[in-house]
């Protein structure tokens, strides 16, 4: 455990007894003691030094217009939202009203005077010392974990395609918006043969580092299928078996929609493992849903049947993750798949061709209040007949 040896204390007093006690208790630290007598002086030092401890020593006949602990503590806690700094107030025991007001403002310690012994103040300073050390260690650990997570997220982002795919036969455009740090959504596409494009969209339940880690595993296995030339059923079986081994005992699931698009035969083979339906749009702008033909992954070992269809008469297929339609609508209700489909239909009836940007704009114009997206959102638009 890292030990922090530098400490800054602002004292709103110059009582020798207090200063000496600080020096004694923090003798194993490099301690910077700043002494202030006015509010202006205090806040100048506060912003310059960002102290670890603030000590007020209120005297019985003190002029509170010069240093008003209520005003200062209120500002620190409620305006600056600084709950890390340790605030200690020494207060004459007969100032009952001031004590009551102070207690509402959450100082860390109120010590009533006269002190029964010097050792009592040492005891309180030691408590402050331990608390400051813990806060510093916690902040340090949090920053370290944050850096690690950012590093992992950075890797995760690198696994996703950066650019749409645009060839003579096919256009694959995408929209991706993680909900926070670490996403459970995954999509990818690449040629596995001259006329064969493999596309995947997957969703790990939840988000954060756990979902991101599972997503990386799905990605690695999916990418390996390019080299191993695994057929779809075998690929999904491999992913499922690996996920079962990893997930065991936890409550995670993965949904996945994977397609092989043969641009020569104009045929699609697919497995929809518990993923939300794909929206297939024909050239007359009507839609057909490609519902799941197997169940979610990570639960039970199973074989996966591959279905196929010819896309000759179709314009494209829209694949999304559930975050695309499970978001908070006006008045706390969930938007839902039906509304999502209706929006797609609305675009198809009023626009010449379907584009992902339109979907975003239509969704944002659907509700009066800005939509509150809870989950990662991914959409893939595979267009068959651009040229």
């Amino acid at each position: 455990m890292k030990v922090f040896r530098e400490i800054c204390i602002i004292c709103l007093c110059d009582d020798e007894l207090i200063i000496n006690a600080i020096k004694e208790i923090f003798s194993d630290h490099v301690v910077n003691i700043e002494i202030c007598h006015t509010i202006e002086e205090f806040f100048t030092k506060y912003f310059q030094k960002r102290p670890d401890i603030i000590i007020f020593n209120i005297e019985e006949n003190q002029n509170l217009n010069e240093v008003n602990p209520i005003e200062i503590i209120n500002h620190i806690r409620n305006q600056l939202n600084d709950f890390n700094v340790y605030i200690m107030v020494l207060l004459p025991s007969n100032l009952v009203a001031l004590r009551e007001s102070l207690m509402n403002l959450s100082p860390d310690d109120i010590i009533l005077k006269p002190l029964s012994s010097e050792r009592l103040f040492h005891f309180h300073l030691n408590m402050a010392k331990r608390r400051v050390q813990l806060i510093k260690q916690l902040s340090y650990a949090y920053e370290r974990i944050s850096r690690e997570i950012d590093f992992a997220i950075n890797i995760q982002q690198k696994l996703l395609p950066k650019y749409p795919l645009e060839t003579e036969d096919l256009v694959i455009d995408f929209f991706y918006e993680p909900s926070g740090r670490g996403s459970g959504d995954y999509f990818d596409f690449f040629y596995i043969d001259k006329h064969l494009v493999r596309v995947i969209i997957a969703d790990v339940s939840g988000h954060g580092s756990k979902a991101a880690a599972l997503m990386v595993i799905v990605s690695a296995l999916f990418k390996s299928s390019k080299m191993l030339k695994l057929e779809l059923g075998k690929l999904v079986q491999l992913i499922n078996n690996e996920l079962i081994d990893i997930i065991q005992g936890d409550f995670d699931i993965v949904t996945l929609f994977v397609l092989d698009i043969d641009t020569l035969k104009k045929e699609i083979k697919y497995i929809n493992a518990g993923h939300c339906p794909g929206v297939l749009i024909d050239k007359n702008k009507s839609i057909k849903l490609i519902k799941p033909n197997s169940t979610v992954l990570g639960v039970v070992k199973q074989d996966f049947s591959v279905d196929s269809f010819s896309y000759n008469n179709f314009e494209g297929i829209l694949l999304v993750t559930d975050g695309y339609y499970e978001w908070e609508f006006d008045n706390d209700s969930i938007w839902g798949f039906e509304n999502f489909l209706n929006t797609v239909k609305e675009i198809l009836s009023s626009e010449k061709k379907f584009l992902l940007d339109m979907l975003e704009n239509y969704i944002k114009n659907t509700c009066e209040l800005p939509p509150i997206f809870r989950d990662d959102r991914t959409a893939l638009w595979i267009e068959f007949s651009k040229y």
Binding site: S205, F251, I253, C276, T295, V296, R374
Partner: protein, 114 residues
């Protein structure tokens, strides 16, 4: 947890949850339900999840129900979904999981089947 009601009835334990069954709450529910199932179940033959007041089910909620069913079945007990709300039914249908569960309209049905 206020939203989770646990009712012991005849040979069954009924978990009635009201509200959104989502990622935000799933760990808490999981811990409570798992603890009861692992420690308190003796002669009960069925575990019933009353989902009639569930207003939303996300993928974490689905994962919870699937894995819970598998765990309960592994203990040689039956698992049922009681009167799932339309939202729950629609969500499970959408991802082809509606037939994965045994749905009942009355807790008495679980006893008949046993």
């Amino acid at each position: 947890m206020e939203a989770l009601e646990v009712i012991k009835k005849n040979d069954s334990i009924i978990f009635k949850y009201s509200g959104e069954l989502t990622l935000d709450i799933i760990d808490e529910i999981k811990n409570e339900v798992t603890s009861i199932i692992e420690n308190d179940i003796k002669d009960e033959r069925a575990i019933i999840f009353d989902l009639s007041d569930v207003s939303f089910l996300d993928s974490s909620g689905i994962g919870f129900l699937i894995h819970m069913k598998n765990r309960i079945n592994a203990m040689n007990k039956k698992c049922y979904l009681l009167r799932p709300s339309n939202v729950v039914k629609n969500t499970l249908s959408l991802v082809n999981l509606i037939n994965f569960f045994t749905i009942i309209d009355d807790e008495g049905e679980s006893l008949i089947e046993i």
